[in-house]
Amino acid sequence: MMIKRIAALALCFLVSSAILPSPQSEARREIVSVPSAPTLEAKLRAMNLDLLAQWEGKIYILAGPEDLRALALANIRFSLETANFPPFIRTNAAAAKRGGINGAYHTYKELEADMLALQQKYPGLAKVFDLGRSLEKRHLYALKVSANVFFEEDETQVLLLGCHHAREWISVEVPFLFGKYLLEHYASDPRIKNLVDQSEVWIIPMVNPDGLEYTLHVYRYWRKNRRDNKDGSYGVDINRNYGYKWGLDNAGSSPYPASEIYRGPEAFSEPETKAIRDFFLKKNFRAMISYHSFSQTIMYPWGYTTQAPDQEVLLKDIAARMSALIQEVNGRIYSYGRAGQTLYLTNGDTIDWVFGTSSIPAYTIELPPVDEMSGGFFNSEADIAGIFEENLPAMLYLVERSTQDYQPRGTGIRLDKLIDKSWLIR
């Protein structure tokens, strides 16, 4: 027993020492395990993988994204073990001292600065728009990524949203990093260039900035916006305030202001949802993802009922493909299905309104972790890059798919309507 304990400690030490982030290596590395077998070990060595140790019938491997891809291609089943080595998380937490109050995650002002920095660095490809103000008068920013960004070209438009719910910090990072990725790889990656040339990707990473700021300064698990309900309670659940089947029943949302799923006094009562609605209706989007956390689930309409939507085959097919693409990255499984069946009933949420009014593929993606025991609404800072990377192929797929069957409307090229409305951030 004692020997086992010593061996376990030695393994933890070995692993945590091995995965200390080196200054040169920015890519997220995972610890994975495969069943121990002599033939498999030889195969792994032939693949030039970084084998850490063999212990209790498993071979432990330190693997970067390329290694994980190679394992998947070689049809070698592996299990993620990173979370079983706490020193890894603690070590990375220290690196967060470079950041603001929430470490490597964005505050409202950090996001504003980073979005404007992208606009400045990629002037022909990125433009930041102010879609309106939150209750506390913070800007609701959208980042448009497209070639000839000042113009509304006759090309497909895709919308990515984050942070409807204040405590879901990771949902800010994933769509923002996607915009950043497109811009950083435009010049070097023909696939990205082609995608950006043929589409308009609109990213609104922080739909609920007031709530997010409250999570930073007062209470980490705050969910709603910061509406003073005048009864001692605060907040409307923005993701129950959209106008499709709003307030249909009290199961999918609540009429009680103190509830976490309070739908507000009427549909679109909140400036945040009004801004998204007005913006959406001015555009011609062909696909949409609203990011949330947690549970590793891809959901499509309907949320207000367990019944299937008209285009379920299409919606399910896309969800299945996105799930498979995510799994190919690192083996992490995102389940998928109708929102109302997969998690719980919701009425007045984003995807129902988007699908109900425009019939385009609309998804809620609940990002990791999978459950409360794995972190709930917390993800370590070290996980941000990995979660983005695993979602990247799915995001690229959705945008590419939207470009592939796009039928030009014959509208030609014109100055973007939003620029005409003087919503441009100069």
Binding site: R90, K109, S233, Y234
Partner: protein, 414 residues
């Protein structure tokens, strides 16, 4: 014609309010008790001692003890050769909105109260001819908040609990010197070094599933500023004074640790941050006057200006919205000195009364305290024992906040 012009102006003003909305301002106007707010009032020139508190807090032109060094060091020239004193305080304040209390997470039916005791001032002064010197140390600001707890238990099992605590204090070391310039004018200057800390901790737990969230925020505070004053004797019975405290940049070393623990430690997530921030503290100016209107009766009036519109609070590198305005605080008081003899020894008994109007700097909600004060004491030979009481009531926020203070000081002079 003038009436039409007036209407036009009003309409234009209304239109400008619509077209140019005010800057970001929370739905939640937290009011007086922002996280960094001192307990009781924002307008703290310096630590008060019992004698001045009993007179409504008037201290610009009347000196009772060496705490004068903190507000108008020129008053040190009115003290005997040596003085030494200690001061203890019992502070009570009621709060309604602060941190996660009554801001959406934890609710209370009424105000929450906090009572604190501290030995909050001690000092020495020396008067040598035209010069006077003092060294004092005092607790200038307290940051404590009423602890807040909530728990859900059923059948003897606790399913959920949340616990909030906040504590902190800022102490100031003051070194002062004063000089008599001529028969009617004196001047004094003090240098002040402040140090303190502020700690806040929130622990949220779901014991049955082994999940806990801990949010710890700590800040070390450092500050340097000058204070000074002039004192003019206009006549035998009348004195006027002008005082100042320089604006300053309060330095903060903040750190934050947010931890999530689940599954008996299997999942441990820590998000740490640290920052060097600053708080731009305002200029304070004051004018005071006192007069001996009867052989044993002094009256005093202090008016002080706090330039809160220049206040700026940076927290983890980001400017926080405070929306403050400049305020004028007013205090008036009187001191009646009666004496009697006990076993052949003369005993002086001062009796003090005062009023203070103390508007808080927030633009919204407008809020001010009106305080009634009284105090008294016993002086026998070189010993002085004083007490002062302040009873203040707030209006404007709708929460009917209260502040009370009891100070007791013991002074010795030669």
């Amino acid at each position: 014609m003038a009436g039409r012009f007036g209407i036009l102006i009003v309409l234009l003003f209304g239109l400008s309010c619509v077209l140019f909305p005010p800057p970001a301002w929370p739905q939640l106007a937290i009011g007086q008790y922002e996280e960094e707010a001192p307990l009781g009032t924002w307008n703290i020139f310096e630590t008060a001692t019992a004698a001045s508190l009993g007179r409504g807090g008037t201290c610009f032109s009347l000196a009772s003890d060496c705490s004068a060094a903190l507000t108008n060091p020129a008053l040190l020239l009115l003290l005997p050769k040596w003085t030494a004193m200690v001061n203890g305080s019992l502070t009570y304040a009621s709060l309604f909105k602060y941190s996660l209390v009554n801001t959406g997470v934890l609710g209370s039916d009424g105000n929450l109260a906090l009572t604190l005791y501290s030995l909050d001032f001690s000092g020495l002064s020396l008067h040598l001819g035209k010069w006077a010197f003092a060294i004092t140390i005092g607790a200038r600001e307290l940051y404590n908040r009423p602890p807040a707890q909530s728990e859900y238990s059923y059948g003897g099992i606790t399913y959920y609990s949340i616990d909030l605590t906040q504590k902190g204090m800022l102490r100031t070391l003051n070194l002062s010197a004063a000089r008599r310039i001529n028969d009617w004018l004196s001047a004094g200057l003090g240098i002040n070094l402040s140090a303190g800390d502020l700690k806040r901790e929130m622990i949220e737990e779901w014991p049955t599933s082994g999940i806990s969230i801990t949010d710890r925020k700590t800040g070390d505070i450092r500050e340097f500023y000058l204070n000074g004053g002039l004192l003019a004797n206009l006549a035998d019975r009348v004195r006027i004074a002008a005082v100042f405290r320089t604006p300053s940049s309060r330095k903060l070393k903040n750190s934050s640790l947010l931890e999530y623990s689940a599954g008996a430690g299997k999942t441990e997530i820590a998000i740490e941050a640290s920052a060097e921030d600053n708080v731009k503290q305002p200029l304070i100016l004051g004018l005071g006057a006192s007069a001996r209107i009867l052989p044993h009766l002094d009256v005093a009036l202090d008016i002080s200006y706090y330039g809160w519109s220049h206040y700026a609070f940076n927290y983890f590198g980001e400017a926080q919205q405070r929306n403050f305005r400049d305020v004028m605080k007013a205090a008036t008081g009187m001191e009646w000195l009666s004496s009697f003899k006990l076993f052949g020894q003369r005993i002086d008994i001062p009796i003090r009364l005062g009023l203070a109007y103390d508007p808080q700097p927030m633009k919204e909600p407008r809020s001010s305290y009106l305080a009634f004060t009284f105090g008294g004491g016993l002086s026998w030979q070189n010993l002085h024992l004083d007490f002062g009481v302040l009873i203040g009531r707030e209006s404007g926020s709708g929460n009917d906040l209260a502040t009370r203070k009891l100070l007791v000081s013991l002074a010795f002079e030669l």
